[in-house]
Amino acid sequence: MPDAIAQSREAAETIARRSYGKLIAFLAARTGNVAEAEDTLSDAFAAALVDWPVKGVPQSPEAWLITVARRKGIDAARRRRSAEYAADSVSLITQELQDLAVTVLDDTQIPDERLALMFACAHPAIDAGLRAPLILQTVLGFDAATVASAFLISPTTMGQRLVRAKAKIKQAGIPFRVPERNELGGRLAAVLEAIYAIFAEGWSDPAGTETRRRNLAEEGIWLGRLVVTLLPEEPEALGLLALILHAEARRGARRDAQGEYVPLADQNPASWDHAMIEEAEALLSRASQFGAIGRYQLEAAIQSAHVVRRRTGQSDWTAIEKLYGALAALTHSPVVAINRAVAVAETRGPAAGLDLLDSVAADARLNDYQPYWAARAKLLTQAGDLAAAENAYDRAIGLEADPAVRRFLQHRRAALRQSAS
């Protein structure tokens, strides 16, 4: 018996990890009610943990969960109806009939409607800052606390905002479908931004020790692939997938055998995932054929200019500088300006790079932004201003949360004094 319980729990956990969003999308697309889909699916999982240890894990566990969740949804609708008898019961009955008409017999019959769910979550009628959190919760099943920590918002506030957003989807009648071609552009940008946020959250665990985060990066790639499959002629969707594959290809190379941080410039190209890089390059070249440049294509092209090192032995800094210039003009982001300064230092020397850094230094947000201080320290070192470099390293070290990166910066700072003496 303990074995059966453990087995059932494991089966349920595997399904939750793999198919949570698919089940939510299927349930919510038919009722327009994400919150109810979450509640009934969670009830269905609870029922599974009681039922499966006794009767065994069903042949089609996802179909089992959907059937149980839909039954719970219908029960809830019945309760609502008897509670508000005066309410228009016709629409509820119609909905029930529609629900019953869709009978899922096995897992292979469950259509994947995660993209439609994503478009509902990233609808312009939803507050822009809530779209990625909403996708994380509904498609990937994150609880509000985890979503909150990813977006630096208090869990209570995030919880309330997510509840309100889901209520809006239901009450305002936001549809679950992929928009028509003529309205796709702006709608897609919101979806891509959310996917990128999901991938970035997963990529930020360089040691790959946290399974949850590694899965997030995989989910981000999966969502990126899904969008490209369903919308094969959207250059920015192709660009985003190319970008995240490039990043993922170098995941492991960011740490050496001792777990120490290895910056991109010191990574051994042999440790990169070449198949993934090739796929990214092919996607980017496909994207470029549409002649509609965008943020993600530019960022992917920058990655591409870095990995030419596989063949030429060095990054194509001239191309990188130009691409960052184009990206800066497009985004006006201080973060892009920092990377551009580093590229300029490579092509025109550290003084030119430092000038560029100075031009964004007034942005108060950069005061506690580690990459700004790390870039500054690097360029000051190259320029030979070791005292100022030491100060900049201190700021960067004080702002870094990752112990391995902190150690790396400390080594660089110590090397400074050795080379000076």
Binding site: A86, A87, D88, H123, A172, G173, I174, P175, P179, E183
Partner: protein
């Protein structure tokens, strides 16, 4: 789903409009209403008299207060509405965008509480 499209506009501007502008506007609303009818989505719709004709009523503690004027004195006032029955918010938003009110004022799209 039923949605109410609330048309807000600047009454002073409407007041100052020329006869030709007003004729053109009325024709545009006429064509829009016709399009809603042809699409079979219109439930109801009306133009309202100016907000200076509004009277506000509030009952507190059994005592009824009647005041001259609209609920809120804002530059843009509710000037009319449509109620339409369409499948979802996207359809409602697309109709709202085509209403002449969207280009000379602002449209608010509100789902009707289904009872």
């Amino acid at each position: 789903m039923k949605y109410m499209l609330l048309i807000y506009g600047n009454e002073a501007n409407a007041q100052a409009a020329s006869k030709a502008d007003i004729d053109q506007m009325l024709a545009a609303y006429g064509a829009y209403t016709e399009a809603l009818k042809k699409a079979g989505v219109i439930v109801d719709g009306n133009r309202l008299q100016r907000s200076t004709s509004a009277t506000t009523v509030r009952t507190t503690g059994g005592k009824t207060n009647v005041l001259d004027g609209p609920y809120a004195e804002t530059k843009e006032q509710l000037g009319g509405y449509y109620i339409i029955d369409v499948p979802d918010l996207d359809a409602a938003l697309s109709w709202a965008a085509r209403c002449p009110g969207a280009s000379h004022g602002v449209m608010e799209v509100r789902p009707v509480w289904a009872m």
